[in-house]
């Protein structure tokens, strides 16, 4: 096919399209994913609001900066040629904070690793937050299938961080008995694992 033929065909297919800002694509997808996470928690984990509302608020507040960093990075990475700039470093800084806060807590609180890793009970394992993050990530990926990200690993990491943060926030409502001293490392591991999964899977899942 010659260049002129191709240009002719493409020009003949110039149907009107409506440009939308990246926020109007991302936010509805995130909202649907959050709803899916809430349904999943209700169905498979059980929900209870603890008497001590301040600890619940603290757990949810812990996830907010990661949600914000992920959203900023994702929105800025969806348009070709846009400079992800500061938001790229926001994801990096948030990831480092996750790692250091978990390490800090673990150095202070003694932990039985064999017990923590082997728990396969419904509400206690380290796998819970990444599992809840899956439908959130799936919803965001579905919402972005017509978009044009060009930094696949950054976009994947941002999707992972958003999914992990929302999963951790909904997990705060699960009735479980994690020692309060291990909450940060538990949440950090969950959000961190989701972020890392997105970073690794981004080039495969986001290609267009």
């Amino acid at each position: 096919m010659t260049m002129e033929e191709l240009i002719g065909w493409l020009a003949s297919d110039a149907t009107p399209v409506r440009p939308r800002p990246a926020t109007s694509v991302v936010l509805p997808a995130v909202a649907v994913g959050a709803a899916a996470a809430i349904v999943m928690v209700k169905l498979f984990f059980g929900v209870s609001v603890p008497a001590d509302r301040s600890s619940l608020a603290a757990e949810i507040a812990f996830t907010v900066p990661f949600l914000a960093a992920g959203l900023a990075a994702l929105i800025s990475s969806l348009r070709p040629g846009s400079d992800a700039g500061f938001s790229r470093y926001g994801v990096l800084v948030a990831s480092l904070f996750l790692a250091f806060s978990a390490l800090d807590e673990l150095m202070v609180a003694p932990i039985d690793w064999a017990d923590m890793l082997s728990r396969v009970g419904r509400t206690h394992g380290l796998w819970c937050i990444p599992a809840i993050a899956v439908p959130v990530a799936a919803s965001i990926l579905l919402g972005l299938r017509e978009e044009a990200p060009t930094h696949f690993r950054l976009t994947g990491a941002a999707i992972g961080m958003i999914s992990g943060a929302i999963a951790a926030a909904t997990y705060a409502f699960v009735d479980r008995e994690i020692a309060s001293g291990l909450l940060i490392s538990h949440y950090s591991a969950g959000i961190g694992l989701a972020t890392l999964s997105g970073f690794l899977a981004g080039p495969r899942l986001l290609r267009w």
Partner: protein, 205 residues
């Protein structure tokens, strides 16, 4: 008057001519987004020249035309992501860079795959299973959109219109993807045959 205008253009600082070009192309894309095929035709013609210059510094010369066409298709499929308050060239350069990296990566993958692996599958014409595997192997080398429409139209017997409905692509885009996909397969098969032909030529000498 013309001489004065020519002097005026020469005196314009480079940053302003680039900005003017950005505005011109951005306006053309805005009109294309509204369905103006004439403006879109002009825009695609102008950016194809820019893309050829862009790729001439980055990829092997024999692949430039093909990559320019691939990029124009990508621009067409993602034209709704351009926002008029952003510079058009940055948007276009982002897509071009993405496609160049993709092409360089697939060039690297192609060199590392031994061509001999394909011979057993292609040689066994009597086995339907072997043929299906060979065809799947070949189609896996294409972009997903191209492989899908070729499979539907050429193998499963869909019409162009039916394939357009099944894939969500427009009819012209289905035709473009079939054309480009088959060209790509032909180029691959030609390069796969080249060592055997050279060996045959050496033996006969």
């Amino acid at each position: 008057m013309e001489h004065a205008d020519a002097i005026k253009v020469r005196d314009v600082p480079p940053q302003k001519t680039v900005a003017a070009l950005d505005d011109a192309w951005g306006n053309l894309m805005g009109m294309a987004q509204e369905g103006n095929s004439g403006a879109y035709h002009r825009l695609l013609g102008q950016i194809s020249i820019w893309l050829q210059r862009y790729y001439s510094r980055r990829i092997p010369s024999e692949q430039i035309d093909d990559l320019v066409q691939e990029t124009l298709v990508a621009v067409h499929q993602r034209r709704h992501t351009y926002e008029m308050d952003r510079p058009f060239r940055a948007w276009l350069a982002g897509i071009a860079r993405h496609k160049a990296i993709d092409r360089l990566r697939s060039n690297g993958r192609d060199r590392s795959e031994p061509i001999g692996d394909y011979e057993p599958a292609v040689a066994d014409h009597s086995s339907e299973v072997g043929s299906r595997i060979a065809i799947s192997d070949l189609l896996a080398r294409l972009k997903p959109a191209q492989a899908r429409v070729i499979r539907l139209v050429k193998l499963d017997g869909f019409t162009i219109d039916e394939a357009a409905v099944a894939t969500g692509q427009s009819v012209p885009l289905v035709k473009v993807n079939i054309h480009r996909g088959i060209s790509r397969l032909a180029a691959f098969l030609q390069s796969a045959d080249e060592p055997a032909r050279q060996k045959g030529a050496q033996t006969s000498l």
